[in-house]
């Protein structure tokens, strides 16, 4: 009897190891998510403890707000452009870094730097680097005769592309890591035997590497899409969604609505819409993966 009780105590006490993590995740992810969904049905004046239940009014206001549709479109343009650029370049870089060479570990660490170094450190000085007449980027491009007139990288026409380039630069490292991990699961013997049969590197890439890392590429693409879809700091710190609204994505709109115009209920509703979109993206991703497994 006593032994039994001791055993249950031991078997319950093992839960203490994971308890702090579970509590933290529930408190900072699950509970706020529920609060956001509830907030989205309320009108909440800033600083007031309780709001007024207004049903779907926040959602109706959002759908009737052209700003939302612009942000939504920008958000998809932003996420897809980032996805295509990052996945392509990351795959190419991973293919090159796959070989054994001197200083490979150092190279890998260096490739990771754009990702690990805080966004703020770059975002705060990037406007100086990109200045139309004085900035180094324009100076280099002009000296190399790539451009005649200096470019205003943060103008209405160029701001989106500039931010996409910066975001790609920042997130390619993760893509490289994931693709590289996938490539390294391929047995080396396959390369050797096909090399003997006369296959060159390009053929090997398309007929061996690509099919074998296909699944991981999808996963990488999914991660890249979602991460970029959610980006707030890079855009906010450099353009705040401007000029006008050309770089305003949904996270920027959530932030602006909540902390600039102080409409917490509406902001929560947009956040819920973001979550809904991402859940859809997730469902599509997992169903494509499932289908792939069946075939």
């Amino acid at each position: 009897m006593r032994k039994l009780r001791r055993q249950t105590r031991v078997s319950l006490s093992k839960y203490l190891y994971i308890l702090p993590l579970i509590v933290l995740v529930l408190f900072v992810y699950v509970y706020p998510l529920i609060r956001t969904i509830i907030f989205s049905f309320y009108k909440i004046p800033f600083g007031q403890a309780v709001g007024e239940f207004i049903g779907f009014e926040n959602y109706i206001n959002i759908v009737n707000n052209f700003e939302f549709w612009i942000s939504l479109r920008n958000n998809f343009v932003w996420a897809f452009a980032n996805l295509v650029i990052q996945l392509t370049i990351a795959t190419i870089i991973a293919a090159f870094l796959n070989a054994e060479f001197k200083g490979k570990n150092l190279a890998l660490s260096a490739v990771l730097l754009p990702w690990i170094i805080p966004t703020v450190a770059v975002a705060s000085v990037i406007r100086w680097v990109l200045l139309p007449h004085l900035g180094i980027v324009n100076v280099i491009l002009q000296d190399l005769k790539v451009i005649g007139q200096p470019i205003n990288f943060l103008s209405t026409e160029n701001a989106m592309m500039t931010l996409i380039s910066l975001s790609s630069w920042r997130f390619i490292p993760i893509g490289v890591l994931l693709v590289l991990a996938a490539i390294q699961t391929i047995p080396k013997e396959i390369y050797e035997s096909t090399r003997v049969d006369g296959a060159n590197s390009i053929q090997q890439f398309f007929f061996i590497t690509y099919p074998m890392v296909n699944k991981m590429l999808w996963f990488t693409g999914f991660i890249i899409f979602v991460w970029n879809f959610n980006i707030l700091d890079l855009i906010w710190l450099i353009t705040q969604g401007g000029p006008g609204m050309v770089t305003q994505t949904l996270p920027i709109m959530v932030f602006r609505t909540a902390f600039r115009t102080m409409r917490l209920g509406e902001s929560s509703a947009i956040a819920v819409i973001i979550a809904g979109i991402l859940v859809c993206v997730g469902i599509i991703y997992f169903s494509v993966m499932k289908k792939g497994e069946k075939e």
Binding site: V10, K14, Y15, L16, Y17, I18, P20, L21, L24, V25, Y31, P32, R35, F39, A49, F96, L97, A99, F101, N105, L108, S109, L112, L113, P114, I116, I117, P118, V120, A121, S124, V125, W128, V129, H133, L134, I136, W169, P173, L177, L178, A181, M216, F219, I223, F229, N230, L232, D233, W236, L237, P251, V254, F255, F259, S268, A271, V272, I274, G282
Partner: protein, 281 residues
């Protein structure tokens, strides 16, 4: 013939690797060298290297204060927050990592997979409700709020890193201790933790870096300018009417250098932990 083509391939590969490295690091090198440029070089047509290098920018950002700006203080605020975040994170994720690696739980696989969903969680959703929740508890403008958030941002990932480290320790090592009657806690603290020191250091580095570089939550939760973090100090500079780029560059260097010092020694482990989470998917 074949040797020649593979030699050419070798050269091409080296060139490409150099290009990759330059594009990954070039901007940081430029920020670093530019921080030594005197004001007139900062505000004229850019050259890569400073003509008359000076420590002026570093001196001014550190020692010339205004009522709302005290960069040394911001650095120490950030150090405090980041160290505590690292401490909290390492405790939480070491416990959970050990638990998941060595114990059986009801619904363990589901919970572990759900932890990975935190990777794709839109943090923007957290801003408004966490602001409200922390206001209700009364820890807005208090570092406790930031430490909780940062620990939550990093702990799931750090747990995955540590699971991979604990998993790589063969169970036979703790069998001996078990036969001697050691409890699970003793095995954890006396046997496994000492064997996974590199993992612990990696987790400390990662959580420190995350807290050190974060600016969005800090910008919302911190209300008093003297409580600013180092990143908020930088953001404040960019809001000025006349931006002092020289000082901003020096400030940026102060943000970057600690990250480099912490990251480079552990980057290998870091990659390992990240991938073990991702590949298991």
């Amino acid at each position: 013939m074949k040797g020649k083509s593979s030699k050419l391939g070798h050269i091409i590969r080296n060139i490409v690797v150099v290009i990759i490295l330059l594009s990954a690091t070039g901007l940081f090198v430029y920020i670093f060298v530019s921080a030594f440029k005197p004001i007139d070089e900062v505000m004229t047509r850019a050259r890569f290297l400073p003509l008359n290098p000076t420590f002026d920018n570093f001196y001014r950002i550190l020692f010339i204060n205004t009522p709302s700006r005290n960069f040394l203080r911001f650095i120490s605020n950030s150090l405090f927050i980041s160290l505590f975040t690292a401490l909290v994170t390492v405790i939480i994720s070491a416990l959970a990592g050990y638990g998941f690696s060595r114990h059986k739980y009801v619904g363990k696989n589901t919970v572990m997979k759900l932890l990975l969903f935190v990777y794709v969680f839109p943090t923007i959703i957290l801003l408004v409700p966490m602001f409200r929740i922390f206001s209700d508890i009364g820890i807005i403008d208090n570092y406790v709020s930031l430490i909780i958030i940062y620990a939550a941002l990093t702990a799931p990932f750090c747990t995955w890193i540590l699971i991979s480290f604990f998993d790589s320790v063969p169970p036979s090592i703790e069998e001996a201790a078990k036969i001697d009657g050691a409890s699970s806690w003793v095995i954890f603290t006396r046997v496994l933790l000492p064997l996974t020191t590199p993992g612990i250091i990696t987790v400390i580095a990662f959580s420190f870096i995350t807290a050190w570089g974060e600016s969005t939550f800090a910008g919302i939760f911190i209300r008093t300018s003297m409580k600013n973090t180092v990143t908020l100090g930088l953001v404040d500079f960019t809001a000025d009417q006349y931006i002092e780029w020289g000082q901003l560059l020096a400030g940026s260097v102060f943000v970057i250098v600690p990250v480099l010092l912490l990251f480079l020694p552990v980057s290998g482990n870091f990659v390992k932990g990240f991938l073990s989470g991702a590949v298991k998917e």
